[in-house]
Amino acid sequence: MTTTAPDRQQVGLDDEARLGLYATMVLARRFEEAILAEYHADKGPGFDIGKGLVPGEMHLAAGQEPVAAGVCAHLRSDDAITATHRPHHFAIAHGVDLGRMAAEIFGRETGLGHGRGGHMHLFDPETHFSCSGIVTEGYPAALGQAFAFVRHGTDRIAVAVTGDGGANQGAFHESLNLAACWKLPVVFVIEDNDWAISVPRSASTAVSSNATRARAYDMPGVRVEDNDVEAVYLAASEAVARARAGDGPSLIEVHTLRLWGHFEGDAQGYRPELAEVVGHDPIPSYETKLRSDGILDDSRRDKIYQQAGERIEQAIAFAKSSPLPDPSTARSYIFA
């Protein structure tokens, strides 16, 4: 099934909610733009990945905001998310504290993991958010969180995220099967951005839609062909409702867009469509839509940008002014 034209009324997408989706995407994008600038500010001369205030690999999700915003709009902060190596947009959409997240990315003692984790290893027990640098290895853990939610007698759900490349990992298939067998309240999300680093989806994946794979495990599967936040929102509303009602897991694949490199420093020489990519940025196109529907004007837009900007500025200032961890504590937290 391909979902393109959502019925807004049906799913409660009023003007306020639509502006909320927009604001979430703007917040995620502005945050990543800020991280991008900080990351590259002090890597020179040339580019040395180990240098600067934010060293190491950096996977940014610009272009994929519709997936996070559209799914997370249905979640409560007591629902769980297991995200990927590209986690910031989901963390932000799920309400992870921006300051503590930024501090983790800057390797500070005040960070979510006291600087131990870094950007691929964000753990926030308050919002039940986590992510992993090993492809699709967040899927199994989401099953367990969902299992615990059921055993605790709640209607909480878990969302598991992976990429198009990740859907070829064994853990993906084992997780779908087990979740379906045990009717666990999980929403499986696949961000199909056409690429797994330099390997195009067409060269790695035997099916053109992962909805097919969902069907193989006897669960509803939807492929959202447009990188449109409302289309995602609509698909997710069904999947989340089904999970919350105790009817079991569903899968949503979104054909989204990786606007930037796989990681920072990726020259993307392998990517023939690179020049066209900016033209498909989902944020300006949603903005156009909201303007033509009379919901967004310059002053509202400016306010959303200003609010996002202020929050991000504060978060980054908090990170930068926080102390680095004391080297003598490197072995803290290995055991409880």
Binding site: V135, A171, A196, S198
Partner: protein, 347 residues
């Protein structure tokens, strides 16, 4: 002419300057030209040329039939390499980071490593598993491990870890030609990558043409009489830095093991019997690993060889932290190495 270490030492044959990554690729190219059954598969090994430059240029020369990008399905493609090897091909499979072994370890240690034994020697698995290891650039706990001790602990596979361009080439050629499964672990910090801090020896002279280095032979890369430092991988360079610094003060002998399996115990014993003092430097975890094995190599034979207890400088059994000051605290860097050498040399 097949150039070996001894022909090079005798000054025969030409050399050229290459990065470690380029030297590794050169060995693969030569073997692929010589032997049509050699092919390379893994993630981003084609157009990208390997995230750490392990396959740069191979696709252009050999095409997508022999330089193959795979799905992110390590169990499937490493298993495929095993099966192809069983049928007489010589695959090279790349596990992008050694840290990812978790998703495919069964194929590696229950199959690749055991088939020859279980078949009573009837079935050979002549394949190479290449993988990137090591930290020092803030890649966090899932992308910075060495883990060679884990592979070496599991019987049935050879484990090599080059630290110089010439060894990267010679060990790769030997690994491809070997009839056993060989894990070839390249430390990111020795590859000479443009986008990562380089040690000064990451570009060096490499013998031209076909060149092999025997698997299982350590190399004394610096002669000395006071303290033996046994090490491997990027740590070799940190130790050399320290040894050069201490020259005139402490005369340090540096042994680059180059292989964990087989382990060149004779080289360790020969050096320690001369110096009576041993420091082992290992970026892998301290406990149950290489540093303990090297120490036991001496004490099993003759503990009285040692004038001082052995010092081990390794990762203190800590997941590699992201934040730089924490990571630097747990890595065997120059400061910790120097302190250990001074302590062992002191009495």
């Amino acid at each position: 002419m097949v150039v070996t270490e001894s022909t090079v030492e005798a000054g025969l044959g030409g050399t050229h300057r290459l990065t470690t990554a380029r030297a590794m690729v050169e060995a693969i190219e030569i073997e692929m030209r010589r032997d049509a059954s050699v092919f390379y598969l893994g993630e981003d090994v084609g157009a990208y040329g390997g995230i750490f430059g392990s396959t740069t240029g191979l696709l252009d020369e050999f095409g997508p039939e022999r330089v193959i990008d795979t799905p992110i399905s390590e169990t499937a493609f490493i298993g495929l390499a095993i099966g192809a090897a069983v049928e007489g091909m010589r695959p090279i499979a790349e596990l992008m980071f050694a840290d990812f072994m978790g998703v495919c370890l069964d194929q590696i240690y229950n199959h690749m490593a055991k088939i020859h034994y279980e078949s009573g020697g009837h079935v050979k698995v002549p394949m190479v598993l290449t993988t990137a290891v090591g930290g020092g650039y803030s890649d966090g706990a899932q992308h910075s491990q060495c883990l060679w001790g884990t592979f070496a602990h599991l019987p049935g596979m050879k484990v090599v870890v080059p630290s110089t361009p010439a060894d990267a080439k010679g060990l790769m050629a030997s690994a491809i030609q070997d009839d056993n499964p060989v894990i070839y672990m390249f430390h990111k910090g020795v590859m000479g990558l443009a986008w990562m801090a380089k040690n000064s020896r990451a570009i060096d002279l490499v013998p031209e043409g076909l060149y092999t280095v025997p698997i299982g032979k350590a190399k004394v890369i610096r002669q000395g009489s006071d303290v033996s430092v046994v090490t491997i991988g990027l740590s070799v360079h940190h130790v050399l830095d320290v040894a050069e610094n201490l020259a005139g003060n402490v005369d340090v002998e540096v042994i680059d093991l180059r292989s964990l399996v087989p382990l060149d115990r004779e080289a360790i014993l020969a050096s320690v019997s001369k110096t009576g003092r041993l420091v082992v430097v290992d970026e892998d975890y301290l406990s149950f690993g290489l540093s303990g094995e090297v120490s036991a190599t001496v004490t099993d034979v003759d503990p009285t060889m040692l004038k001082m207890p052995v010092k081990r400088v390794a990762n203190p059994d800590t997941p590699v932290p992201y934040s730089r000051p924490l990571e630097y605290a747990i890595l065997p860097r120059q400061d910790r190495i120097e302190a250990a050498i001074r302590e062992v040399a002191s009495a």
